[in-house]
């Protein structure tokens, strides 16, 4: 039922974008597999803290250890695993415990350093020693090397890396607070929205915004940082604009994309719609800024990172009494994005008629290469 033009996507395959994506993707790769645990913490917090749905002082004892220890250690474990499998994971987790203990902020960033570092150190050690271990001593050497290196890293993390990261996190948090207090936060969309459609979405959301948001949510029970990249409203507005005013051949694919994006939370499905008409990034920025501004003035926040960025995740993670601001920000983001993107689509429609004609001509021409079969998915 869906149709699509074989549109050339202007994506550079090398250069800074690839490097940023590789690095950001690595950060996201440590966080995303653990989102279940982040949700457990967020939901538990929303229910049992004194201002929650069902305050319960006994169960609330879990909130602190979950955010301080479980989440960073899981992230560090995963980071170590990405570098050097199970052995890397164990050493990464031990090192992460060193940053987590005694820290006053949830050490997500510390975990993102210690996890891979632990994996790297034990990998390097194994590479250098493996050949020299006498037969029969492998297990002894393996276990004690992991234990000794892990303990050493934990001490290094406790004394040096933990405090350094704590300072850096606090400074970053202050910078974000400055933007919030001066109503400048919407400006962040100017960077976030273009980066998002270049597939840096996970890097930004899970690599940068989630650690900041978690620190704030641990203190205040909710954070706006979770909603800057993940707002499903602007994408809904864009796809709706395509549905009504897009090139005729693309319109039928929009409703299906809306279901996947807005309800399923897979924002990636809308990125190609922006990339095939790059001017629409203006509409995405407008929608993103309007959404963030609405969240800001209504003091909206979520209890944990909504992943995937679905409207259902938003509803599930809205703290008690916070529905108005959350829904308003999603709606305003969608409406502004729809209006601006519709206008831009109309404005550029002459161009795409030419493109469609060209494609039609190319498809009917006796092609040297086999023409793509019509989409019938």
């Amino acid at each position: 039922m869906s149709m699509a033009l074989p549109v050339p996507v202007p994506v550079a395959t090398g250069g800074w974008r690839a490097r940023v994506q590789r690095f950001g993707g690595f950060l996201a790769g440590m966080v995303i597999p653990n989102i279940g645990a982040i949700l457990a913490w967020g939901l538990l917090t929303a229910f049992v803290i004194p201002t929650g749905w069902t305050p319960n002082a006994k169960l609330a004892q879990m909130v602190g250890p979950l955010i301080t220890f479980l989440l960073p250690i899981l992230i560090g474990y995963t980071g170590g695993y990405l570098v050097y499998g199970q052995r890397g994971a164990v050493v990464g987790a031990i090192g992460t415990a060193g940053v987590a203990v005694g820290s006053s902020v949830p050490q997500f960033i510390g975990a993102m350093i210690m996890g891979p570092l632990g994996g790297l150190v034990i990998k390097e050690f194994d590479n250098r020693t493996q050949e020299h271990v006498p037969t029969g001593f492998e297990m002894l050497v393996n276990n004690f090397s992991a234990g000794i290196i892990g303990a050493g890293l934990a001490i290094l993390a406790f004394w040096a890396i933990g405090p350094a990261v704590e300072h850096a996190s606090t400074a970053l948090g202050h910078a974000v607070n400055f933007l919030i207090n001066h109503t400048l936060l919407p400006l962040v969309s100017i960077i976030v929205e273009p980066a998002k459609v270049l597939f840096l979405n996970n890097a930004i959301n899970h690599g940068v915004l989630a650690p900041l948001g978690v620190a704030k949510a641990a203190k205040h029970g909710k954070a706006i940082e979770f909603m800057i990249e993940s707002n499903p409203g602007p994408g809904l507005g864009l796809l709706t604009a395509y549905w009504f005013f897009g090139p005729r051949s693309i319109r039928p694919s929009a409703p299906g994309a809306i279901i996947i994006q807005f309800f399923g939370g897979i924002h990636e499905v809308y990125f190609p719609y922006v990339l095939m008409r790059p001017i629409l990034i203006v509409g995405m920025i407008a929608g993103g800024m309007a959404g963030v501004l609405t969240f800001l003035v209504t003091h909206a926040g979520l209890v944990a990172t909504p992943s995937p960025g679905s409207i259902f995740a938003y509803l599930a993670e809205t703290p008690k009494g916070g529905y108005f601001g959350v829904l308003a920000g999603v709606a305003v983001g969608a409406i502004v994005s729809f209006l601006v993107n519709s206008f831009l689509l109309k404005l550029t429609s002459r161009e795409d008629e030419a493109v469609e004609e060209e494609v039609a001509r190319a498809e009917t021409a006796p092609a040297s290469a086999p023409a793509p079969a019509p989409a019938t998915a």
């Binding site: 149709m3 995303i32 597939f199 897979i266 499905v269 998915a377």
Partner: protein
Amino acid sequence: MPTIQGSDVHKVVVACEAGMGSSVLLVSQLRQRLKGTGVEVDHAPVRGIPPDADVIVVNRGLEATARSVAPDTVVVPFAMFRGDPAFDRLVKAIKEGATLEG
């Protein structure tokens, strides 16, 4: 450029950044379309593509990464998550035994 005969394809791996979001969405679509061919369709993070993958399906934004991870495996890049002609070419090649290149 690596090539493979459609009939030699036993495992298609859809890769995305984390291996649990957009790739899963495509896995269910491709599985349905390859039903009855005996071809296994799986998802994976782009940096963790399993070595037994015969064909890698990946978004153009991650194509370079996929190629560097698995330089000897055929990579089928796509732009649209729904209705991209790349999927049709892949399914057709597997069902009719044509050569896949890329």
